[in-house]
């Protein structure tokens, strides 16, 4: 069998030079004097972005990490000898992949996403063939049995959504895919669109068949240019092969779809706003007295599913709903993709069975906290979610348990924070984000968030007052109760959850004018611990305002007047000598 070098071309690896690697490998392989030359292929995201660019040798060779241009010759030479290049191996990757169960990501990082053939070889479009041999009702029953809930955030049962739409009297129906991934810190939808676009198209066509839709739209975020190009190619190829268009696979069923490019508005992740945006209007949500499954796009019955949900559908059809339901927990079946990011050792994309604990996810798969620092909190659910502290590390990751603890599953962003993350600053960050993204049509969200931002900014800048915490909580409650759409209803979550679990940090900011994490500039003064400082000069070199001085090999000092508290010195110091004055995290 021909040897293949598969170079991960996920966004993280590309930024680290994966495309240049592909060129170099192609050149090196071309010049080989052998009968069968190894092939070089580009794949989508492998997940372990922290250690990119990754190169896998198939069929049975090793995977190399952090491959540089200078390693290309060694890797190509090793193909003939069969001896792996030891220095490019990363044994800890086994821990990262061992606990995972890949369904939505089953082809990501393995196939060349631009090749419909490679998708077919991996069993692609077999689910569509099977679905078309079933009645639409049988397809819906299978999805209902699987228990799959929407992976976009709200967790509504997908089968029930399809059933309601299929039961509508109006026979002009639409099937939509939400690829407007708005959670700032989640990139699984982007990775699926880039790394395995056909799984999404196949899921979309199966959904359309089930609900009786003949036209579909994929709403893809404006920033995701590469993902859009892959999906666009996949649509063209699928159409040419008869998986889209007229009389799909000879079944008599017609369906086609189009890409709509998002306009860059977080609120368009909300179903009614997204529909409005597809209609070419301002993306403002409307009240849901009448649901989109009854009157959605152009007032016709409409199903809107998330990318990850749709990519999972073909798997469900192939293995059957019951088999899928045995994975995960009874009320949260199957697997979920998380983008585990922040201060964690193995930043990247992971797919795990529902019900796994946060501890297993962060410490076993994620490899623990970066640089051996202390875990402080994990944020799930993006701007609509909340932060959980150390005491909740053994909580199960499923829709219901997370909700019980004051956060949500959301689309799968999982931001890990260490003792150098300030929880008040994180709360302000999310409120500021939502303030800008609020569409502004209803008062509680527009004005409430603005007031919350003002109070949080005061606290972070040393103007916090007695009673601010209570006031924040009270405004938050009103915003939650009185807002129209999910953006507003969940907006106070980051604030209220941090107050619930990290109230002492708020109080420290207000009463002691101190930010223990060293993040809030007005409340932080850095100093150098003379006991620990070795006088290496790394801090001095990186200081943008030249505020640090000292003799070589002698303890350095920071000039507090020149210091802008940017923290460059703290990041540069390898001896943990830069401290927040008054003591760091307790």
């Amino acid at each position: 069998m021909t040897q293949t070098l598969r170079v991960c071309c996920g966004i993280g690896c590309v930024a680290n030079g994966a495309l240049e690697l592909v060129d170099a490998f192609e050149k090196a392989c071309e010049s080989l004097d052998v009968e069968v030359r190894p092939e070089v292929k580009k794949t989508g995201c492998n997940g372990l972005c922290e250690r990119g660019p990754m190169v896998s040798v198939l069929p049975d060779g090793p995977t190399y990490y952090q491959v540089k241009l200078r390693d290309v010759d060694a890797v190509v030479e090793s193909l003939a000898t069969g001896e792996p290049v030891e220095r490019l191996l990363y044994p800890a990757a086994d821990d990262f992949y061992r606990g995972q169960h890949k369904i939505a990501l089953r082809n990501c990082g393995i196939i060349d996403p631009s090749s419909i053939r490679e998708y077919e070889v991996r069993g692609g479009y077999a689910a569509l063939e099977k679905a078309l041999s079933m009645t639409p009702d049988e397809v819906i029953s299978e999805v209902e049995k699987s228990g799959i809930r929407g992976r976009g955030g709200a967790g509504f049962p997908t089968g029930r959504k399809w059933r309601t739409c299929a039961e509508q009297a109006d026979t002009t129906r639409y099937m939509l895919c939400n690829g407007d991934e708005g959670d700032p810190g989640a990139f699984m939808d982007e990775s699926i669109m880039e790394g395995d676009p056909h799984s999404l198209i196949e899921g979309l066509v199966i959904g359309a068949y089930a609900i009786g839709a003949h036209q579909g739209y994929l709403y893809i975020r404006n920033e995701y240019g590469a993902a859009r190009a892959q999906v666009d190619k996949a649509i063209v190829d699928a159409r040419a092969k008869g998986y889209l268009g007229h009389d799909i696979m000879g079944s008599g069923f017609d369906f086609d779809c189009k890409i709509v490019r998002g306009g860059g508005a977080f609120v368009c992740g909300e179903s009614t706003a997204l529909i409005s945006s597809i209609e070419g209007k301002v993306g403002e949500p409307r009240p849901k007295y009448v649901r989109s499954v009854e009157k959605g796009l152009y007032d016709k019955p409409t199903v809107l599913n998330n990318v990850e949900t749709l990519a999972t559908i073909p798997y469900i059809i192939v293995v059957g709903g019951d088999a899928f339901a045995r994975i995960g927990t009874p009320r949260s079946t199957g697997t979920k993709v998380f983008s585990m990011v922040g201060k964690v050792e193995h930043t990247g994309l992971v797919e795990v069975p529902m019900g796994i604990t946060l501890r297993e996810l962060i410490f076993d798969i994620g490899g623990g906290i970066k640089d051996g620092r202390a875990f402080k909190a994990v944020q799930t659910g993006g701007p609509s979610g909340g932060c959980l502290p150390t005491s909740k590390l053994d909580a199960a990751v499923d829709y219901d348990t997370l909700k019980e603890h004051g956060t949500i599953m959301g689309s799968g962003g999982m931001i890990v924070m260490d003792d150098r993350s300030c929880m008040v600053d994180v709360a302000r960050y999310y409120v500021n984000f939502l303030c800008e993204e609020s569409c502004g049509q209803c008062t509680p969200c527009r004005e409430g968030l603005r007031q919350m931002r003002a109070i949080l900014t005061d606290i972070c800048e040393g103007r916090g007052r007695e009673g601010d915490i209570e006031l924040l909580d009270q405004i938050g409650e009103t915003v939650e109760d009185a807002s129209l759409c999910a953006l507003g209803k969940t907006a106070p979550n980051p604030v209220r959850s941090t107050i619930r679990y990290f109230r002492d940090e708020y109080e420290e900011h207000i009463h002691d004018h101190r930010c223990r994490a060293g993040v809030c500039h007005a409340l932080t003064r850095f100093e150098i611990d003379p006991e620990r400082c070795t006088g290496c000069g790394a801090c001095e070199k990186g200081c943008p305002t030249h505020a640090i001085s000292g003799e070589r090999k002698e303890p350095h000092v920071i000039d507090a007047d020149a210091c802008i508290v940017c923290g460059s010195c703290r990041n540069a110091c390898r001896f943990d000598a830069i401290r927040v004055a008054g003591g760091e995290a307790s």
């Binding site: 922290e50 990775s191 404006n222 920033e223 306009g263 860059g264 993306g283 990011v341 922040g342």
Partner: protein, 175 residues
């Protein structure tokens, strides 16, 4: 100031017509056509709004509302190079704000602004999905990971030297 605009006007009108001709008269294409204009001119010109209004039979006010609602659209020309700071959560907790402050110090503009000679626009984007490389700065289509304040002048400086006019009006604010 308007001299530049006028000199370009016939050419611009022709491009506007070309863009609109890609779409049928269904007003749901208005957003897409405006995004094409944004790509072409680095803003949505007044002439473009008027042409769309005639073509789709929609009041110009409605189209104007789209341009102010969607972040992807701008009513004033963007700079020749777009500097984006990722303001995603990961970049934020890995010190993105300090980098943003650094860009402001370097370029003398805040997020959302374009500098006086139309060379740089500075924007905030919410997560580009390269969280493993946080904090991230994107200039045009080039992504820079693990950015530090120390590296910043070098990154931005390389675009200053490459100061070649590419034939699109720059720095002139439509009035």
């Amino acid at each position: 100031m308007s001299g530049v605009q006028q000199a370009q006007a016939p050419e611009m009108q022709q491009k506007i017509d070309e863009i609109i001709a890609r779409y049928d008269h269904d007003p749901s294409h208005a957003l897409a056509a405006m995004q094409d204009m944004q790509d072409e001119f680095r803003y949505v010109p007044r002439e473009g709004l008027s042409a769309l209004s005639r073509y789709f039979g929609r009041p110009i006010g409605q189209l104007y509302a789209l341009t102010t609602f969607y972040k992807a659209l701008s009513l004033v020309p963007k700079g020749r190079h777009i500097v984006k700071i990722c303001a995603g959560t990961t970049c934020h907790i890995r010190g993105g704000q300090n980098i943003a402050d650094g860009i402001t110090r370097e370029l003398g503009i805040r997020p959302g602004d374009t500098d006086a000679d139309g060379l740089f626009s500075f924007e905030e984007v919410h997560c580009v999905g390269a969280c493993a490389l946080a904090p991230v700065v994107i200039v045009d289509d080039e992504l820079y990971g693990h950015v530090t304040l120390e590296k910043l002048p070098g990154i931005l400086g390389s675009y200053r030297d490459d100061d070649v006019c590419d034939g699109v009006p720059t720095g002139e604010v439509a009035s």
